[in-house]
């Protein structure tokens, strides 16, 4: 779908393309438009996040303070947290704060009269940890998706394809917690090879004990690879049936050259979209995977915050994840325009 939007937007740009290239280059305009659309989407998402987490405003103080809370203490916390103000005013305070890098105060920390109540300072370490987990997975995911997908496409309906496509279909659709627990069972209970959890002591970098990263990364790969491989395979098969590929073969061009020069490149462009979708998928999957393996990242952070009804932390983590999600999508559209020769000339 995103490719379609890219196409139409570029067409629209071309029809009104100005002659003065240096000032209003269509490519820059395309990027600008895409970024602007991203900002608008994020704004709508921010309203949604705020409304969803604030539908029952009085509730937060009650839940945070627990059963033995007196009405006076609830009232006091409400005033301290600013819950007594109208919702619109609170939304603007919140969104202006975020634009200045301030994600508000944690209701739990305020209720426990802790010295440090700022949410922003608690975000850095989980974000870094998730970045490490997601980054390693992405570094393996991209080449593996392309390699396995292309192989399955080239050998369509022959044994290499079956060896790749069958597991992709069977295991690719499983939820992360099923794949994760089955991997724990195999590698911990049966083979005694790897630890079942990746519980790191506070402040410890996950990179100091890479063995504990293996199972979370494998789980994410197992879930994200399936869909990607099947789509790249389909793209490869479709490209191989194109007339210019047949023509190249009829001209006696060696099969290797046909594959690398004529097929792969054109099959690659839709794959970028697929890979972007998979990367986005990682951000959803990471929430569950981090809980399965007790990994101290942003996913576990948000689950703990939901359990504690710590609204400000939920909102902060949610808006950050949504922002990264949107950015990946924009980057993918951008790379697709750069990769596809037809789209590139349409723009320039």
């Amino acid at each position: 779908m995103a490719t379609m939007i890219t196409g139409t937007q570029i067409d629209a740009d071309r029809s009104t393309a100005p002659v003065t290239r240096s000032i209003r280059h269509p490519f820059v305009r395309f990027l600008g438009r895409r970024l602007a659309a991203g900002v608008v989407t994020l704004w709508v998402v921010s309203v949604f996040i705020f409304v969803a987490t604030n539908v029952l405003p009085g509730n937060v103080a009650e839940v945070v303070l627990g059963h033995n809370a007196t009405p006076e203490r609830i009232q006091a916390l409400n005033v301290k947290m600013g819950y007594d103000h109208p919702m619109i005013q609170r939304y603007f305070t919140w969104i202006v704060g975020i634009l200045h890098g301030d994600f508000g105060k944690s209701a739990v920390a305020v209720a426990l009269s802790q010295v440090e109540t700022s949410v922003s300072s608690t975000l850095v370490s989980p974000l870094l940890n998730s970045l490490i987990l997601g980054g390693i997975t992405a570094l393996l995911l991209v080449p593996l998706t392309l390699l396995l997908g292309a192989l399955a496409g080239i050998y369509a309906r022959r044994s290499p394809d079956l060896a790749i496509s069958t597991p992709a279909l069977v295991f690719g659709g499983l939820p992360e917690f099923v794949t994760g627990t089955l991997l724990i069972f195999i590698f911990f209970s049966v083979l005694h090879l790897l630890p079942p959890t990746s519980g790191f002591s506070p402040g410890q970098s996950p990179l100091t004990d890479v063995g504990r990263l293996v199972l979370p990364v494998l789980t994410l790969l197992g879930v994200a690879l399936g869909a990607g491989v099947r789509q790249v395979r389909a793209g490869m098969i479709e490209t191989l049936q194109r007339e210019y590929v047949q023509y190249a073969r009829l001209n006696g061009i060696p099969e290797r050259r046909v594959l690398f020069r004529y097929t792969l490149r054109n099959a690659l462009a839709p794959s970028v979209q697929i890979i972007a979708q998979n990367m986005q998928y990682l951000f959803g999957g990471i929430i569950v995977v981090e809980s399965v393996f007790d990994y101290p990242g942003i996913g576990q952070y948000i689950v703990n915050a939901v359990l504690a009804r710590d609204t400000a932390k939920v909102e902060a983590a949610a808006i950050i994840i949504a922002a990264v999600y949107t950015l990946i999508n924009i980057a993918a559209d951008f790379v697709v325009v750069l990769l596809v020769p037809k789209l590139r000339t349409a723009v320039a």
Partner: protein
């Protein structure tokens, strides 16, 4: 009038499809009738927590010393019922909005597409968690939240199928005969978009299972001591070293159910592409 009739041929000659139907039927049978089959209570503590299989407990005991088999047999119906209700709601909304957007081509169309864009720009599980934060993890909240997360995509599929069908001759003929819009949609458009949306419906059912059992796994949905496959996995992770079956059994049930549904969807999609040729 039906266009996709050929698609039904060969559906059960497909091996993937056969295995899928078999797996799905088996898991649904266990989920629905498992409670009656089980002779033991899923709530009674009967021995040492985390005990390995033996002594009349085929799958051993869980983290509180309850019979794992009884809890697995009782624990499927919650996820299955919630996911099925969510799917029905998804398609009730998806068909209404999709038909309306695709057939009328009114303001609903761009409005729907923008809503889809926004909802797709948040990870679906994150959206579920936002609902749970605001409204708590009750059963109705989970069904509605899953439906809100999944219906825009369904509406989009219904919309594009409707757009394609509504330009065909028999729809134009119905309009020319002077049939009402509702009758045209019901008798001409809807029967012809059923095959393409059947596969999508299956996929959305499997996504509903994943979303709802994930929320239960995270401990934000169904509350203990109730047995639920997703919840059983997370609560028994602590006794994995002594009785891994307490974790593997519910995980396998969810896994087999989803593999079954996905094989069925894949079979439908393959049958459809054969029918088109």
């Amino acid at each position: 009038m039906l266009v996709h009739r050929q698609a039904r041929f060969g559906l059960l000659h497909d091996w993937g499809m056969r295995i899928g139907v078999l797996l799905f039927a088996l898991v649904v049978f266990i989920a629905v009738f498992g409670g009656q089959l089980s002779s033991q209570s899923p709530y009674a503590t009967v021995g040492i927590p985390g005990a390995a299989p033996g002594g009349g407990h085929l799958l051993g005991l869980d983290f509180e010393g309850r019979d794992v088999l009884a809890r697995v047999l009782h624990g499927g119906v919650s996820t299955l019922a919630l996911a099925a209700s969510a799917t029905v709601l998804v398609y009730a909304l998806g068909i209404s909005f999709g038909l309306l957007a695709g057939y009328s081509r009114s303001v609903i169309d761009p409005l729907l597409m923008r809503t889809v864009d926004v909802i797709l720009s948040i990870p679906s599980l994150l959206l579920m968690l936002l609902f749970v934060t605001g409204l708590g993890g009750g059963r109705p909240v989970m069904v509605v939240a899953a439906a809100v997360v999944l219906f825009p995509g369904a509406a989009r599929i219904v919309r594009s199928a409707t757009l394609e069908v509504s330009t065909r001759g028999f729809v134009e003929a119905a309009v020319a005969r002077g049939e009402s819009t509702l009758a045209t949609l019901w008798r001409e458009v809807l029967p012809n978009i059923v095959p393409p949306i059947a596969a999508d419906m299956g996929l959305r059912f499997s996504w509903s299972i994943i979303l709802i059992s994930s929320v239960n796994f995270l401990g934000l949905g169904i509350r203990p001591p109730e047995p639920d496959w997703g919840l059983l996995i997370s609560e028994n992770l602590v006794i994995l070293p002594s009785n891994p079956l307490a974790v593997v059994a519910p995980a396998a049930m969810i896994g087999l159910m989803i593999i079954g549904v996905n094989l069925i969807c894949d079979g439908i999609i393959r049958a459809l592409s054969r029918g088109d040729r």
